[in-house]
């Protein structure tokens, strides 16, 4: 994992030292260093670009306010109850604009939602009516969420969940009166954990593949001994029901873009038959990107499966009911996240849903179709094993590449690719949507997207390349390709498109500078065999534009 330390600016109308302490000392990746803006000067800090705290160039800001402080009409509503809700919502609109005004000053902005102390019963049984406290606060939060829905780098976080987890110590008036601390310690602990999960989501640190065991994990019983007909799964049985609900939650993760895999010590034929034939199975074979079902060491099988799926171990979560297997994978593969797992099957689903490793800053079309893309990839590999040469296989795929420039329609996916792709990534620039848009808008900059399809289906927008023109030459700044389509001549196709463009505008040469990271060696290996002239000391690759860069025979450009 990256050792980068993220700079955070905390802006609030209450004492934030406790949150700063939690963010800085919470062990989870990534590291955070906090600066705290002057107490109670939220509006001033948001409006005044000259405030010195912005000079620290923070990576992200947390703007955490109390509703009665930041929304003046809400305080009057609390005092008199005689304030039209429209007036309060108008003020929420104004506050939303202030938040959007700092979008360009910081890469990410986290805004915890507004809550009132749980001891405040408001209007009691009338509290959910239109003049009630709970009703009004819900409408304020909803309005804020609607206003910020399309602000690509502002994320509302749910404070209510943190206060619920903290329970009765979430609010302690003594903390407020003695030190102007709005919440109990547990609230800040939960908040810091969620904020770090959000940071991981925005910096390619989230997990992409969830590998599960079968016996005792996806179903009750041992399929090899008991037979699939006798497994505990669904039916009128509380344990069977718990297994089925766990599978439902796994399927829901899969449907939002998390890949599922199986690593199990079993006879493959018997295990697959259970998945295909058991009437209560929620997960079927097409829900899994891949599996290793055999009697080999599970750590070896995890590595094998992950390699097969072109992912890194840092992308993986491994769930197994057997503590010995968990310990084995944890010891052998420290990059894999192996959560402690409850013995009680009825807690499986809750444990899964509480994991903080699958957060994502956006969910696009590619996420929703990710598993089907991997299933298609499995079919491609099966075809490959029946054909003799790589060229023969690639030609048989009938691959088409659609090349487009950056648009508002593909911006979100471009940002996602640039921020999540580790292996085939030339410079590993992590940028927000706004930063990408601003960069591409410059006259001497150009950015292309590459969408790939073949006879097995769509792989979607999987490549991004960008060019910066400098006098007679041009620099390829970004060269990013999803691992899903690596090694299928898309890399060469991208170079062909860039070279053709550079020739058409009369440039003499192109170059690319490879910036090494812990994970992008595959990118170096591709460039070294690309035919471009390699200058190892400078880590650059050069192409004289007197020569064309051929389009691979197996690719059609649309």
């Amino acid at each position: 994992m990256s050792e980068k330390e993220y700079r955070c600016l905390l802006v609030s109308d209450f004492t934030m030292d406790n949150l700063a302490a939690c963010l800085e000392n919470e062990r989870d990746f990534p590291k955070v260093r906090c600066a705290i803006a002057p107490f109670g000067q939220v509006v001033q800090v948001l409006i005044d670009t000259g405030v010195q705290f912005w000079d620290s160039n923070p990576d992200f800001a947390v703007i955490w306010t109390q509703p009665h402080n930041i929304i003046e009409s809400f305080q009057r509503f609390l005092d008199t109850a005689n304030v039209p809700v429209e007036e309060i919502l108008k003020e929420v609109d104004h506050y939303s604009k202030l938040l959007m005004g700092i979008q360009n000053r910081v890469r990410f902005i986290l805004v915890p939602t507004w809550v009132c102390p749980s001891y405040d019963r408001g209007y009691g049984m009338l509290d959910m009516r239109s003049k009630g406290l709970a009703n009004t606060l819900m409408r304020m939060n909803l309005r804020l969420a609607e206003n910020l829905e399309h602000a690509s780098n502002i994320f509302l976080l749910d404070t209510q969940r943190w206060t619920n987890t903290a329970g009765k110590n979430a609010f302690n008036p003594k903390l407020w009166y003695m030190a102007k601390i709005a919440f109990g310690r547990e609230v800040f602990v939960e908040a810091a954990r969620d904020m770090k999960a959000a940071l991981r989501a925005m910096t390619a640190g989230s997990r992409k593949l969830l590998i599960v065991d079968l016996d005792g994990t996806l179903w009750g019983g041992i399929v090899g001994d008991d037979g699939w007909e006798n497994l505990k799964l669904g039916g009128h049985d509380y344990v069977g029901e718990a297994y089925r609900d766990f599978q439902r939650s796994l399927k829901s993760l899969k449907n939002r873009g998390i890949l599922l895999g199986i690593v199990s010590k079993n006879d493959e034929t018997i295990a697959l038959e259970a998945i295909k034939r058991h009437p209560e199975m929620v997960l079927r074979l097409d829900d899994f990107a891949g599996w290793r079902i055999n009697w080999s060491d599970k750590a070896e099988n995890v590595v094998d499966l992950v390699t097969d799926l072109n992912l890194g171990l840092q992308s993986v979560v491994f769930i197994d009911d057997n503590p010995a297997e968990r310990a084995r994978v944890r010891d052998a593969l420290p990059e894999v996240l192996v959560p402690e797992w409850p013995e009680d099957k009825m807690l499986y689903r809750a444990t899964l849903l509480s994991l903080r490793c699958f957060d994502t800053s956006s969910i696009g079309k590619e996420d929703l179709e990710r598993t089907s893309m991997y299933v298609a990839e499995r079919q491609r590999r099966e075809l490959k094993s029946n054909l003799e040469s790589l060229d023969e296989w690639l030609t048989s795929l009938e691959t088409e590449v659609r090349v487009e420039e950056l648009t508002s329609a593909n911006l979100q996916r471009v940002a996602q690719l640039m921020n999540r792709t580790n292996q085939m990534n030339l410079s590993t620039r992590r940028m927000t949507e706004t930063e990408i848009l601003n960069w591409a808008a410059k006259d001497n900059h150009k950015l292309w997207t590459f969408s790939v399809s073949d006879k097995f289906g769509q792989s979607g927008l999987t490549g991004v390349a960008s060019l910066e023109v400098e006098n007679r030459g041009g620099r390829i700044v970004d060269f990013v390709l999803s691992c899903r389509v690596m090694g299928r001549k898309i890399e060469e196709t991208m170079l062909h498109v860039i070279v053709e463009h550079a020739r058409s505008i009369g440039l003499d040469y192109l170059y690319a500078k490879y910036i090494p990271t812990k994970k992008n060696n595959p990118c170096l290996e591709f460039w070294q065999r690309s035919g471009w002239e390699y200058d190892a000391p400078l880590s650059t690759f050069k192409w004289q534009l007197g020569d064309q860069y051929p389009l691979p025979n197996c690719i059609n450009i649309k």
């Binding site: 030292d17 000392n25 310690r185 602990v189």
Partner: protein
Amino acid sequence: MDRNTILNIVYDVMSELNNDRGDDDQLVMSESTVLVGPDSALDSLGLVNLIVGLEEKVTDKLGFDLDLTSEGALPQPGSQLPESGHSLRTVGALVDYIVTLLKRSSSE
């Protein structure tokens, strides 16, 4: 009330606070650890966190409504530094003070 029980509760709270402190800034689990005054490892915010955390923990574990913030137990802002005999001066003194409050409460 067993003095050791109270001491362990104080250590529990200190241990929770240590989770939010850096490796070189950990509170030492000792009765002689200074809580207020120039030699204290805690700033005023840390002291508030300790006191409120302790009140909540004692209520949770012993069902006793501990109030450490009245009767002048907490140094007031701008006041003279506590003398060596102050009830919150050290972990040991704090434990004795809580035991006294508990005894007083049970005899009332």
